[in-house]
């Protein structure tokens, strides 16, 4: 029996200030289509903002990022991809506010927020770029 391919919404964003908000507008339309509630939509938006900001920072010379919203029966799968130099996952530590209060570097919360707000998160990173895949169950 042939399996139906889930519908996909594709978005390309240039690396410009606040362009992550454009991604959240699309996410709101997709969430509404899927019948996700207000809390789920807000969590998706926040995670998406963080994923976009990370991608903008790592986007290298490409100066744009790709976002795919895959609408599945039981969940929404979002991928955010950049074509930058990638990063070493082993060097990413879990941030703690106690450490941040003493440190000059207060940032570095994006991945932690995405993990907390979404149901699953996976990262693939190489010298050709990084893709974050995150899901939210219905």
């Amino acid at each position: 029996m042939k399996k139906n391919t889930p519908p996909v919404v594709e978005l390309t964003l240039p690396v410009l200030p606040d362009m992550e908000i454009a991604a959240t507008k699309t996410a709101e339309v997709v969430s509404k289509h899927m019948g996700l509630n207000e809390e789920q939509t807000a969590e998706i938006n926040m995670a998406l903002i963080e994923a976009c900001i990370n991608a903008f920072e790592h986007s290298g010379t490409e100066k744009q990022i790709e976002i795919h919203f895959k609408i599945k029966d039981d969940l929404l799968e979002i991928t955010v991809s950049d074509k930058g130099q990638g990063f070493d996952k082993k060097k990413v530590s879990i941030p703690k506010i106690e450490d941040k209060l003493k440190s000059d570097y207060k940032r570095g919360w994006g991945l932690q927020l995405i993990k907390e707000l979404m149901d699953t998160v996976e990262f693939e990173s190489s010298e050709k770029g990084t893709t974050v895949t995150m899901t939210k169950k219905k």
Binding site: L16, P17, D18, E20, I21, T24, E39, A42, E43, N45, M46, I49, E50, I53, P95, K96, I97, E98, K100, L101, K102, K106, R107, W109, G110, Q112, L113, E116, L117
Partner: protein, 114 residues
């Protein structure tokens, strides 16, 4: 391009900053500018009314951590009220609520700061 703006008022010794718009790096820096100017004048109690800032990012919130750090040096306090649920959740995940306070009305917030 950011449409972030803020209004400042004082209730006794408490400085209240009401924000409007996306609390990103630009918004965070505008808040910190006000806080640091007022700290120079001896103020150390700050409340943020975030009713009109329902979208934040971690860079903007990181600047609030910097404000908390500076307030710790002067026995000061930072508090917030009128938070959207996702903003409160973000503050919890990042641990801000261990070192600053969330209130649910201006009246409660002012009392809680004193």
């Amino acid at each position: 391009m950011s449409d972030f703006s803020l209004e400042v008022k004082k209730e006794g010794s408490v400085v209240i900053i009401k924000t409007s718009g996306y609390l990103n790096n630009v918004g965070g820096e505008k808040i910190s500018e006000v806080c640091y100017e007022e700290m120079e004048k001896g103020k150390n109690l700050f409340l943020l009314d975030l009713e009109n800032s329902k979208v934040v990012n971690s860079i903007g919130v990181s600047i609030l951590i910097e404000i908390i750090e500076k307030l710790q040096d002067v026995d000061g306090k930072l508090g917030y009220y009128n938070l959207a649920p996702i903003v409160e959740k973000t503050f919890n995940i990042m641990g801000l609520t261990k070192y600053s306070s969330v209130f649910y009305s201006e009246e409660e917030a002012i009392k809680g700061m004193l």
